[in-house]
Structures are given as structure tokens and as C-alpha cells.
Amino acid sequence: MRNEKVIDRSAYKKPVKANRLFTFSRKQLCIPYGLFLVMFVVIPLLLIVYFAFTGEDGSFTFSNFIRFFSDTTKLSTLFISVLVALAVTVICLIVAYPVALILSKMKGNVAMIFLLLFITPMWINFVLRAMAMKELLSLLSLPLGNMANLIGLTYDFLPFMIMPLYSTLIKMDRSLEEAAHDLGAGKVKVFTKVTLPLSVPGIISGAMMVFLPVMSCYVVTDTFSGSTGFTVIGKLIAWSFLGEGGTLADIHGGATISLVMLIIMFVTMIATGGFKNENNARGTNL
């Protein structure tokens, strides 16, 4: 046994490092993420621009754009993509809005149960869901093609429309509707003058969740179009890069279509003010 006794005990403070470089600041925590973003988001985007405006020999050219805009098949695919995306967005909105409105007016546990019922399928892989819908269509002996494409896209994207609409409507101050009623507005007027305008942010973010992804979601159109149905612009991009067998093909052509997609995206975002919108369907946590 060692016999030790304490003869002094004093507060100990680690000496401060003189070099301020090594003391950490909370701001600096985003440096790794910032570098990651520059490397894998900013530079690749710049590369898209670079490849879109250069030819095989690396010289500056507009020929990629001329090639794209003179190719009627590609142009019509772009046109159809936008049209289809719009159509799917509108169908989803028409189907989802009443659902979201009804759910938002339900009370307590019932609302909770229905909400969970709508959320649950979102966790099943969307290719598996496409498969399920395809099986149903074949069971009903509906042929593959344009109609099947629209049904498939609506089926896969519907939940993404319901969630942002619901979260906007549930946050809405109900007394506003009552106030409109009180001021003499009928039920229809209350809806068109109060409820609908106030839910516009939800409509926008829901539309964002559907419109842009539909244009690139070639998995679904590949599944449902059969030999007659349309395809979307995303397919063209993927094929330009990968060809059929998955080998690199037309980088410059692919970059050009990507740039066109990026421009469509920016135009849509600016038109809807979606950049400010944090109300994201996928971000809905329950």
C-alpha cells in the first residue's frame, strides 16, 4: 500500500494556445461541405457549360446547339417532356388538393391515421411501385403506351404533391376562413378568395416536386411506354452519355441537353420563386 497524501489541490486550466489559427470557430465547420460542393457540384456544372460550347477538338463552337435544335426527334422529345410534366403536375394537383384539404380538416387520430396511410407508400422503392402499377395495368389488360405512361407517372408522383399541400393547409390560420365567412363570403368565395390563395406556396412546392423530376424520370416511361409511348428528355441525356450499352457516347451532345435542362430549371425556379421555398415534400418529417 502506498501511503499518499494530498498536499495541494488547485484549479487547473489548460494554457491558452497563443496561435489563434488552431482555435476552432463554428463557422469553419462548413469548410469540408463547402469544398465538397465546389468539387462535386460547382465544377461539374461549369464542365457542362464547357462541354456544351466546345467541339470534339476542344475549340469553342455553337455546333452542339445547332445539332440539338435542328434534330426534330430531340426537339419533339423536349417539347413532349415539358407538356407531359405539365399534365402530370396538373393531374396530381387536381387529385391531391381535395385530399390535402380534407385531411387538413380532419381531427386528431383520424387525421394522423390517414396521413400515415398516404405517407407509407413513399417508403417503398419507386421502381417497385412502378412495377406494381404495371402489374395492375396488365391485370386490367390496359395496353402500354401514352395512357399507361401518364397513369404510371401520376401514381409515382402523387404522394409528393399531397405532402406539401397538406403541410401548407394545416399551418393555415383557420380563423381567416371564418373571418371571410363572417364578412359575408359564401363557401365557394371563401375557398377561391382565401383558402386557395393562401395555399399557393404549397401548390408551388408540390409542383416543383413533380414538374422537374417528371422530365428526367425515364425509368417510369421506360416501364410504361412499351413500343408506342413517349419518352422524356432525361432519357436523351442518359443515352447521350451512356449509349445503350452503358459506354460513353456523345459527351458534348449530352452536355448541351443538360444545359437546356438547367435553363428550364432556372426559369421555372425564378418564375415560381421556388428558390426561397423550403417547404419541401421530401423534407416533411413526421
Binding site: 482555435t23 476552432f24 463554428r26 463557422k27 462548413c30 469548410i31 469540408p32 461541405y33 463547402g34 465538397f36 460542393l37 462535386f40 457540384v41 461539374p44 464542365l47 457542362i48 462541354f51 387529385v95 385530399v99 380534407i102 390517414f114 396511410l117 398516404f118 405517407i119 407509407t120 407508400p121 417508403w123 417503398i124 422503392n125 419507386f126 421502381v127 411501385r129 412495377m131 402499377m133 402489374e135 395492375l136 396488365s138 391485370l139 401514381y155 416543383m208 423530376p213 422530365m215 428526367s216 425515364y218 425509368v219 416501364t223 442518359a238 452519355f241 452503358g246 460513353l248 452536355a255 443538360s258 435542362m261 438547367l262 430549371m265 428558390f275 423550403e278 419541401n280 423534407g283 418529417n285
Partner: protein, 264 residues
């Protein structure tokens, strides 16, 4: 009457959502290969799940690992963005939103160009992981940010005041405080990664398949050989569906209990 009609409407939409899945579940117990013709009740396809074991494993490992990286990167990023008040934070936050709104095809193809420009193989496991981290990190940032905003601004200072170093304050106070946001960001990252098709299809080595890419090959390509595995995927869907329902019920009941446990 009006109430009944609106109830009916919700039921019809729910049917639209659930009927395809339930049909899949139903026929997964049929010994036959095709739907519409229930031969004999059997677990035949379930016993064959071993054939797609690798695909499932690939999917899960990719999802968990990339989400873990995304969660660390995104959490640190969110804290950094939140506390840097100047243009720097705003810029990082802005760039961070690009992959959220950008279409996955463009994100994936832009990465292909980067790897090409760097002289790397354009298909690699590294590429798939980078792609998934890019795809999911912004959502982690979006989940963590509100928790930081809700947090009492003095907590960090209080920790320093009580003798914690900045690192200790981060681990003992800030991180526990925003933990719910980090966890939901992680869960969100996992679901996004599980759901991804395009990034994996574009960037992964040709021999690497996840559930998305494997099922795509079976349903989009109409060859006899490709559709061979569809019945097994029915069994897989059934299992995933049941697991999801289970998690949802558990989650809901835990939340309910927590709510009851709160002292008013």
C-alpha cells in the same frame, strides 16, 4: 352527406395508391409466375429471395454508408452555415440547394464529366458514393437547420461560460440539442438513397446492382430472361411494405406515448 362524399373521395384515392401494392402482395403468395392467375398458395418466391440477396445488401450498404457520410457532412455544414453570418454562409447554403432542385440526370451526368475530365473511370463505386452523398446531404442540411434556428442562442455561450472548450460545447450542447434534426436528416437520406435509380445506373460499375436498377432491368427490358425474377421482387415488395407499416406503427405509438408523458 358532404362529409361522406369527402370521405369517399379520400378512400378512392387511397385505393388508387394501395390496390397495385396489395395485388402485388396477394400474388406474391401464388406459386405462379404471373398475376391474374393465382395457382396455389406458397412461399416459393420467398424461399428464392436468396437469389437477390446481393442486390438487397448492395442497396442497404450503399444507403447506410452514404447517408452516414451525408449526415456528418451536412450537420457540420449546417452548423457552419448557421453561424457564419456573412456572404460565405449564404453562398454555401445557396450552392447546397442546387442538387435539391437539379434533376438527378443532370447531377449524375455532370459527375461523369468531372470524372472524365480528371481522367478517372466514369463508372466506379467511388462515383456512386459521391453521387449519393451529393443527392442526400442538402436534405440533411434542410433538416438540421430548423433545429439550429429553434435553439436558444445563449446555450453555446452558456457552455463556454461553465468552462467548456468550443469543441466540448459543440459535442455536449449543440449536437445533443439538434439531434432530432440530425436523425430525421439521416432517415431522409436513407429513404432518398434507397429510392435512387438514375445516379446508381449512371455511375455504378456495370456489375453493381441495387434494387432500383435490378428491378428496372426486369420490368423495362421485355426479354424472357429479364422478367424471370419479377415474382421474387413481388415477395421483396411485400416484405418492404410490411416492414414500412411496422415502422410507421411503432413510430406513431412511440410519439403518442411521448406526447402523453409530457408534464404540462
Amino acid at each position: 352527406m358532404k362529409k361522406f362524399l369527402s370521405f369517399l373521395y379520400v378512400i378512392i384515392v387511397l385505393a388508387f395508391v394501395y390496390v397495385p401494392i396489395l395485388i402485388l402482395v396477394f400474388y406474391s403468395f401464388s406459386s405462379g409466375k404471373t398475376t391474374g392467375n393465382f395457382e396455389v398458395f406458397s412461399f416459393k418466391w420467398y424461399s428464392k429471395l436468396g437469389e437477390i440477396k446481393d442486390v438487397v445488401l448492395n442497396t442497404v450498404v450503399l444507403a447506410v454508408v452514404s447517408s452516414a457520410i451525408a449526415t456528418i457532412l451536412g450537420t457540420l455544414g449546417a452548423i457552419g452555415i448557421f453561424y457564419s453570418k456573412g456572404k460565405f454562409g449564404k453562398t454555401v447554403n445557396g450552392i447546397s440547394q442546387i442538387p435539391v432542385v437539379n434533376s438527378e440526370v443532370v447531377t449524375a451526368c455532370a459527375l461523369v464529366m468531372l470524372f472524365m475530365a480528371l481522367g478517372f473511370a466514369h463508372r466506379s463505386m467511388f462515383g456512386v458514393y459521391v453521387g449519393h452523398v451529393i443527392l442526400t446531404t442538402p436534405f440533411v442540411v434542410l433538416s438540421v437547420m430548423p433545429k439550429l434556428k429553434q435553439m436558444d442562442g445563449s446555450l453555446y455561450e452558456a457552455a463556454l461560460d461553465l468552462g467548456a472548450t468550443p469543441t466540448q460545447a459543440l459535442f455536449k450542447v449543440i449536437l445533443p440539442e439538434i439531434l432530432p434534426g440530425i436523425l430525421s436528416g439521416f432517415m431522409l437520406a436513407i429513404t432518398l438513397s434507397l429510392d435512387d435509380y438514375i445516379i446508381t445506373a449512371t455511375l455504378s460499375p456495370l456489375s453493381f446492382d441495387t434494387i432500383s436498377t435490378a428491378v428496372y432491368k426486369s420490368i423495362a427490358l421485355t426479354t424472357e430472361k429479364a422478367s424471370e425474377k419479377i415474382p421474387i421482387y413481388r415477395a421483396l415488395t411485400t416484405i418492404i411494405f410490411l416492414l414500412t407499416v411496422l415502422v410507421v406503427i411503432l413510430n406513431a405509438s412511440v410519439k403518442k406515448r411521448n406526447r402523453k408523458g409530457e408534464v404540462k
